[in-house]
Amino acid sequence: MNRSPLHESHLKLGARMAPFAGWEMPIQYEGIVAEHTAVREGAGMFDISHMGEFHVKGSAAGEFINSLLTNDSSVLSDGEGQYTLMLNEEGGVIDDLILYRIAENEYFLVVNAAKIDEDKKWIEKRVPAGTTFTDLSSNYGALAVQGPKVVEIWEALAPDRVLPKRNGIAEYEDGMVICRTGYTGEDGFELFCAPEEIGGWFEKLLNAGVKACGLGARDTLRLEKCYPLNGADLDPEHTPLEAGLGFFVKLEKTADFPGKSVLKEQKEEGLKQKLVAIAVTGKAPPLRHDYEVKDEEGEQALGTLTSGTISPTLGKGIGMAYLPMEYAKPGSAVNVAIRNRLFPAEVIKKPFV
């Protein structure tokens, strides 16, 4: 099991630790609701040292990246980033990631922890001559600092390190990298620095009033915003069109990428299923991954929840599931089976919050 460079800090704060993607990570400190609220209303931070960072550079890097990923990387200027996906030849999702252009023919990629090895193999097999791919994952400790107050806190804490604009990236003299992005739906940034320096920043942010938050709150925060989690809501069996991520798939760009022809075909033929947001309509237990979704009469099985929780903001069960297109419209009535009982629920327009 891998350990974060912040492991000791987590234990000192009394974090509940659990395995995640081969890492021993904090699930919660004080409690998921308190941590969730801190991020929605103030400032919170998550250890994301487990996430992967790649560097791609060389004369053909720009062309290569655009033929590897679904979004159109040719629109990026230096210092800009975009959400994008890497697909298999069948159009299924290998990974969703954020791509940043550092300079012409130089890119920084932030990928999911559980997919580092698979991504790496996929990319290395395709990287052209004159372009180098480097896995920097073990070179960085990382924190996601999120919430409406974090920009103000950061500007007071490190006035010399000017934050990049939304979705942008900035590198500082000592090698620290900051990306203005996140996974909570709030303003904020992700900070990457040498593993031996991350503890110092964690301490400084904590003292400045940023609450330490675990993966439990990270999950409730992202699910309220309907941000997909790879391995749960995204997988090699589903395309990004089915996942409702068509905006990040540029089928009209000239560059070819794995899965493009399958996606074009799927778009022409029309989707058969779609990842929808579901909320219970009455009093019901929290929704959970793998619960079965049934039709309004409770007879026909329509799909299973790929994610589920209770929304701390709304106080009710929310989740996502791939459902047949005839149920994808907001307002569609369904049921969720929980411990052999049916609870009425409905399809909601994304996001929940």
Partner: protein
């Protein structure tokens, strides 16, 4: 952690009050509520249901996960704390008071002897 002297405990962290075997209150311990944090949902059995010692007969859910609650003794459920179904906060705030979940008419009071006393339970969670 608060472990009242007069209660009996299961190793799965339920408590039961042995003083009234016709209507013995039970709930989960202070330690259990602290481990669960934010209790958001409680599913209780109906009054009149017969439960068997060790049977999972209720479900408690935190934001993160659902957990079973086990019957400390065999008996009949004679009262349930309906208020918790609407607002489960007392389970976190007052686990031995307002956080009581059900009252059980115990079929065989000698089953209580097989449960942990406060001292053993303190050791169990230390």
């Amino acid at each position: 952690m608060n472990v009242p002297d007069h209660l009996r405990f299961l190793d799965s962290h339920e408590w039961i009050d042995p003083s009234d075997t016709d209507a013995a209150s039970m709930g989960i311990s202070d330690h259990a509520q602290a481990e669960l944090t934010d209790v958001v949902y409680l599913e209780l059995p109906e009054v009149g249901r017969t439960v068997t010692k060790g049977e999972a007969f209720a479900v408690i859910e935190s934001v993160k996960a659902a957990n079973d609650i086990y019957a400390p003794v065999s008996g009949e459920v004679v009262e349930v704390n309906e208020a918790l179904a609407e607002a489960p906060e007392p389970i976190n705030e007052d686990p031995y008071g307002g956080g009581w979940m059900v009252k059980i008419k115990i079929f065989d009071p000698s089953e209580l002897d097989g449960l942990m006393n406060a001292e053993s339970y303190r050791e169990h969670i230390s």
